[in-house]
Structures are given as C-alpha cells and as structure tokens.
C-alpha cells in the first residue's frame, strides 16, 4: 500500500527526532573527549566543541603521573571482579532453592526476600551494622551489603522455573544429586540469563560510589568513581600538580584533567558495551515478563 502524505510526514519527523535523541546521547561524551585532548588555553577561550584544538596528551600525562589513578583503576578491577563473582554465586544459591516447587517455606522465604525490596533500614542503620561487623575500611563493606540483588534473584528464579521439568526428572533418574543437577544441567541451560546478570552486577560494582564514600576512609582504597568525583569537586588538584611540575600549570586547566579522568573511567565501559548490549537487553526482557 502506498503511504499517504500524512504517513510520510510522520515517518520523516520520527527519523529526525530519533536522530536528535541518539545524537544527544553521544555528543556530550564526544565533547568531553575533545576537551581532554585539547590545549588548556583553547579550552579556556571556549574554542573546543566536538573536535580537539591544539591536540596534546598533557592532561593524560598529568593524570597518570600526578595522581594515583592507576591505583584507583586497579581497585576498581578488584572490587568488580571479586564482587561480581561473589554476587553471582549467592544469587544462584538463593534463586535455585526458591525456584524448586517442593521446597518447604518457599512462599514465606520469597515474601521475606521481596519485602526487603519494599522496605529498608536506610543509611544510618546500615552503617551501624557494617561498623559492628568490623567491615569499615575493608572491601567487605562494598561486596557484602549488595551481595544479592533481589531483582536479579527474581529474574533468575523465574528463568529456573520456566525450565522443562522433564530434563530434571531424567537427570534425577540417572542418579544425579542436587548439586550436580544444578551445576551440570540447570546452569549450562541458563547461560544467557547468567551472562546478563553477571553484566548487571559488574556494571554496578564498576560504578559503585555511595558505599565507597560511606564505608572507606583510606584514600588508597578508593575506586575510580570516588577519585574522579573528588577531582571534579576539588580545585586543590591543581595545586597538587603545581608542586610536581610548576612549569606545566600554565598550560593546564583542571577542566582538561577532569575530562581526562572522566574518559579513563568510561573507556572500558564504552569499549565493551556494544558487544554485550544484547545480553543486557535480554536480562531486562526476562525481568519484564515477570513484571
């Protein structure tokens, strides 16, 4: 059928609007990238928009030499890798029993878990618990409070429940015990959703901010998020640098270093994101079916 004039107009407008929305999501990042590679003078005079002016790597040089960003980067990796592994393990052992129809108290435990989604103690009582457990200033305070995300757990539980019972029956008859059943049969069949949840946890830990701010005091334990945030907040950054290399400060604004910090932090994310996008989307879809 031939599209009418009205329809053509509609589709045309739709493409224009969607292009604008898409551009609005990427252009700020391009701008920051341009700033981070630009000469400070050009930034100050407002010449830099989407293309670096007087390209220089000075801000990155200063960032890597003048600050302990490498250490923060390493901390980020440690927090993310260990945290994700712990969380995945615990989410699996939470979701699996709750997905078994013959578990005693299944309904009660599910309700008790979901309730924590609707009501929580809040910042202060959480802090007191972490403190009384002696977790302050250790990564335990980052990994443990968010060990099992109820939402992720429900997604996995739903997925387990949707598996055909025949497979399990067959494995049981073949003398498979519960652990083997979980590890050899159920988990391999759940790879797509496990991938999605792993990525959800990994992003959460990579971007972790509040818990680091609340529970860690030792600056050497800070992750990138808190470090970059402090860079953005404090102008003392510049003074610190001026002690290191006085002659360079003339060519620097903290603006360009801040931008470099932002770029260092989002780079890993932006690089891996397009490849993993479909897993993320799948995770949300599975969660959505349950509602």
């Amino acid at each position: 059928m031939k599209p009418t004039f009205g329809e053509k107009l509609f589709y045309g407008m739709n493409y224009v609007l969607l292009s604008l929305i898409g551009l609005s999501c990427i252009l700020p990042i391009v701008h920051i990238l341009a700033l981070s590679f630009s000469d400070a003078q050009a930034v100050m005079s407002g010449k830099v928009v989407f293309w670096p002016v007087n390209v220089t790597f000075k801000s990155y040089e200063n960032l890597f030499i003048g600050t302990n960003i490498m250490n923060a980067f390493k901390n980020n990796v440690v927090i993310t890798v260990v945290g994700t592994a712990l969380s995945m393990a615990c989410t699996i052992i939470a979701a699996y029993p709750l997905s078994r129809r013959d578990m005693y108290g299944r309904r009660f435990f599910t309700m008790a878990v979901v309730f924590t989604m609707l009501f929580s103690g809040g910042i202060i009582p959480n802090y007191l618990v972490i403190k009384s457990l002696g977790l302050l200033d250790s990564y335990g305070a980052i990994w443990l409070p968010g060990l099992v995300s109820v939402f992720n757990m429900l997604v996995l539980k739903t997925y387990f429940e949707s598996m055909p019972l025949e497979t399990e029956e067959a494995a049981r008859i073949d003398g498979c015990n519960e652990w083997r059943l979980l590890i050899r049969v159920v988990l391999p069949l759940s790879m797509p959703v496990l991938a999605a949840l792993t990525l959800f946890y990994a992003v959460g830990f990579w971007n972790q901010f509040m818990n680091v701010l609340l529970y860690l005091n030792d600056p050497m334990k800070y992750n990138l998020t808190v470090m970059v945030q402090q860079m953005i907040r404090s102008q003392s950054m510049l003074q610190e640098l001026s002690n290191l290399q006085p002659e360079d400060v003339m060519n620097m604004t903290s603006e360009t270093i801040k931008s470099a910090g932002v770029i260092v932090m989002i780079l890993p994310m932006v690089i891996i994101y397009p490849f993993l996008q479909k897993y993320f989307v799948k995770g949300v879809m599975i969660g959505a079916i349950k509602g």
Partner: protein, 316 residues
C-alpha cells in the same frame, strides 16, 4: 508477585502421602544447605538494619550502642516535624522525586513508540545502541559532564554567548538547576526504560494496524487506539514500581549535582543523612528521617497497587 505457586501432588491414600513427604523432606536437605548462607545474608544486611531503626526512638550515642542508648520516645520525630530545616529537606525529597517521576515517566514510553515506528532496522539498532549507553555511566560521570558543559565557562555558555549576553550560571540558579536535575535523569534513564515497553510493543498483533490502516485511521489514531491500549498493562506495572521508589531520589545523583548555592532545594534525606548523620554523628535524628522515608515508600506502593488492582492490573 508469586503467582506460579504449585501444589504438591495429592494422593488420597495417607500412606502414600507420607512416603511422598519423606521423599520431599530428603529432597529439601540440599535446598536448605544452599539456602542457609542466603538466609544469613538477608538477616545480617537487610533485617538487622531494619531492627537498627529502633535508634529512631532513642538518643543514640556511641558509648552505649544501639541497645544501651536511652529511649527517647517520639522525640526525634517531634524535632523532625518542628524544625524548619528538616521540614525543608523532607519537602525537597518529595518535590525532587515526584517531579522526576511525573515529568520523566512519559519519555521512555514515547521513545519506545518512536523506535517501534522506525522501519529501517539498522537505524533502529543504531539509535537503540546510543540511547542505552547513558544507563551504564555512573552518576559521577554524568554529573561531571553536566557540570563541565553547563558551567559558566562551559560549552553551552560559549555557544549561546550571543543570545545570553553574559554567562548564565545554570547550576547556581534554583530553576535551571532543577531543570538540569530532572533533564539529566531523563537523559540517563530514558533509553533503558524504553526496553520494557519495546518488549510489550512487539507482542501487539500487526493485523490490528493493517485493519486500522484499511479503515483509513491516521498514524496518530493508530497510536492512540492500538499502540497505547496494547502496552497499558506494562505502563501500569512500571508506574507502580516507580511509585514504590519515589522516596528514593538517588543519593549519587543529588550528591554529585548539588552545590552550596542550591542547597535550599537540593538537600534531600539521603544526602542529609550522610552529611549530618554520619559526619556530624546525629544518628538518631537521621535514622528517624530514614524510617519516615521508608514508611512513606511502603505506603505509596501498597496504595498504588490497591488502585491498580481495582482496574485488574495489580502486582499482587
């Protein structure tokens, strides 16, 4: 939430039933071995803090701890609702979260409908890739970019210098700060929020559109009479869930965007709890605020669900 509750196979013969039960008991041992660490986690990190909320009714001090500190009745709540500063913070929490919800809520729906109408697959995929991206950036990054872009020396002021005359301090004026706050929330969450609606849209029967098109319905009419009713249940469910989180204006977002010039409208319960509670040790007062926040959240969720159930779309 749990609708797929299964019944254990019923036997009329009691002996058989007992045998089934023994089998079920044996079956349950590995479940509980698995589940014990999970129970410990939920008690330690979820239910213990809830118990810790008793300090809202006490005068907490470090020496006596949670249990030893003297009772204070509802004294903290009296302070809370009589002190103009704390009242303002509670009001801010409401205003910021309700505005974010009401203004931000339609955007993912609109984006999903627009994406659904885009016919070229490559274009649709490209736009999707771009709009999902902000979701993965932490608030620290987003706020860092916002501050850089909107500062008086930022690119917005540079580009619009001709119109504005002199640099405009977007981040230091109440009105523009609020717009930036809500706008950045929409920017970050819009694409991700659209995914769930896209899933719902894909389940609408295409023959409905064909029929409507035959009958001469315009694109707009089709959207209002087929698309929107088709995804209405999803919209309601997402709305209930968002209302439940309404009191949780994200700490990260507020903390990283706020500055001293706009404290009057930007200080919320969570940032106050961090600054006054943890750094100035006003534990009981801020715990009382937190308790108030949680209870309002719970009440709102139950209320919305009751309303939604009346229309046959409740969550439970």
């Amino acid at each position: 939430m749990d609708t797929a509750e299964e019944t254990v196979p019923r036997r009329t013969d009691w002996q058989q039933e007992r045998r089934v039960d023994r089998k079920r008991l044996k079956q349950n041992i590995p479940y509980f071995i698995m589940f014990v660490p999970v129970i410990v986690f939920f008690i330690l990190f979820k239910y213990m803090p809830m118990g810790g909320l008793v300090i809202a009714f006490k005068d907490y001090n470090f020496a006596d701890g949670v249990f030893g500190s003297p009772w204070h009745g509802i004294g903290q709540f009296k302070t809370l609702f009589s002190n103009p500063q704390t009242l303002q913070i509670i009001r801010n929490t409401f205003v910021l979260s309700v505005l974010s919800l009401l203004i931000g809520f339609p955007f993912p729906v609109m984006l999903a409908i627009m994406l659904n109408e885009a016919r070229r697959a490559w274009f649709k995929r490209l736009v999707q890739t771009l709009v999902y991206l902000p979701h993965f950036l932490s608030w620290i990054i987003v706020s860092g970019m916002v501050v850089t872009i909107f500062s008086t020396q930022g690119v917005i002021n540079d580009l619009f210098a001709g119109w504005l005359g002199e640099p405009f301090a977007f981040l230091y004026k109440d009105g523009s700060w609020l717009s930036i706050f809500i706008g950045s929330g929409i920017w970050k969450g819009m694409g991700w929020g659209a995914i769930i609606y896209l899933a719902a849209l894909s389940s609408i029967d295409p023959s409905l559109y064909e029929a409507a098109s035959m009958d001469g319905a315009s694109k707009w009419r089709q959207i209002f009479h087929i698309t929107l009713p088709g995804i209405a249940p999803t919209i309601v469910i997402v709305f209930i869930l968002s209302v439940g989180n309404v009191m949780e204006v994200g700490f990260d977002q507020v903390y990283t965007l706020q500055n001293s010039a706009v404290f009057e409208i930007s200080e919320v319960i969570s940032t106050y709890a961090y600054k006054i509670g943890l750094q100035q040790l006003q534990f009981s007062l801020t715990a009382a605020m937190g308790l108030f926040e949680s209870i309002i959240g719970l009440v709102l969720v139950v209320m919305t669900n009751t309303v939604a159930r009346r229309f046959g779309q409740g969550l439970w």
